[in-house]
Symmetry: C2
Subunit: 295 residues, 2 copies
Amino acid sequence: MNDASTQVRADLDRLLPVLDTALTEPFRLGPAVRLGEAVRYSLEAGGKRVRPVLCLLASEAVGGSVAQALPGALALEYIHTYSLIHDDLPAMDDDDLRRGRPTNHKVFGEGHAILAGDALLTEAFGVLAAADLDPVRRAEALVLLAEGAGWHGMAGGQALDLEGEAIASYDLDHLRLIHRMKTGALLRASLEIGAVLGGASSSERAALRAYGEAIGLAFQIQDDILDATATEAELGKRTGKDAGKSKITYPSLLGLDGARNALDEATETALCQLATLPKPNSLAAWARYLAQRAK
Amino acid sequence: MNDASTQVRADLDRLLPVLDTALTEPFRLGPAVRLGEAVRYSLEAGGKRVRPVLCLLASEAVGGSVAQALPGALALEYIHTYSLIHDDLPAMDDDDLRRGRPTNHKVFGEGHAILAGDALLTEAFGVLAAADLDPVRRAEALVLLAEGAGWHGMAGGQALDLEGEAIASYDLDHLRLIHRMKTGALLRASLEIGAVLGGASSSERAALRAYGEAIGLAFQIQDDILDATATEAELGKRTGKDAGKSKITYPSLLGLDGARNALDEATETALCQLATLPKPNSLAAWARYLAQRAK
């Protein structure tokens, strides 16, 4: 353990219990019992809750609180969880395992998996719209969430990624565009929503947006590197599938060393953005931690 | 043509061009070209735009304008259109035809159909959150939209409906619950969102909510009746499929005459709610028109 991972661990220990309790709350009591189970199954699968944690840390980094960014954090995890459920479907990435457990449609059937994603996507906006927050900040956060998740963001990126599997080869610019949309847009939104709800100044907001942009890139590169090098047992999901489908990745385009250099560059860019923030330590640790994971 | 259908036609002639122009606007320019085509394909399939039109008429009924309810109307049609795309998927109702044309997944593939629904669902909240409206009314409309569309509403109802196909028989109460959620919740939300954005008093809002409740029931009963009696050419979609799958419907539980009586009752309930509104005529015509369609 080094400083970065100690800090990340301390933040997770502090924030995960808050998130875990709140996340399943809206899906406990209602007539659609089986659909509620499907939703909670995926919400309770755990994971590091990267997006909501970064959202909460962004609020703290500009002097805001966990409480005032919590509705945004929940919304981000709902969006992320819906996207995993839909991406795992046979018509998309066709995965049987996720975080070491059978994927949602393997347990609840495809129909309920589609609807579980739809219900999560809807609740993401519902929880944020109903939150007792400053109305202007709340509306800004809702717009950022829609931009990050929708046609110009995550959903559009996933469509381009699906199409890309049919294309024999494309270049680094196209790969970057897909990642900026598919993974980057929601991570960027996570930081910017946390900033907005935490009461950031416009320069702080811009810095956190740029940090989110860089860390989104870092996150995708390290995911590609891990997929190329780690074992199934380590990740809890099928690995090497990108190479098996001859999907374009950073290692396949740049080689493993090239990909690691690109990761270091993105990490540096992220760290530079934090210089002027009141409380940058936790976010700095996250940037270093993501880079280390892929070493 | 009688008075009711003349009034409905006049309102459609006035409102459909406004809606049709605005609906596809957010999906014209963006990097995910093919996904944008898939979204516009379903938005441009036409239909009566029942939900957005009722939303705009609810605003007018309480003295509001079309302009101030338009973002809500667009949001409702995005939600409705996403639900049609997802419901038509093989894992759900497995339909090949919709409004006389091949369903979305038949043209664009299942992956893009799932994502087209996701993008529409996201933009529903995006367009409303970004609208230049009174912030309190806007937040109330967003909450109503999430309630109508989500786990307690449309998505939950669709899940119960899917499960119902596996149940040998269930009673009228269960059928009513499913319809209240699957079809009723979004129609109710259409009226209440229009009321809120149009500046309704709390009693006007309650009346329009009750009208929406009743008209939602009427809408479902007449849909069941039409499915049991009309031909494929008349409706532009497969008919008799409910009976073929031995799905429970109002005619199958109450007989055709019983279903028509239930429809008349729901229509009367709807009409009663309009008594105290400043401009009830268009909504009264809609209630009568829905009942006539199934005669």
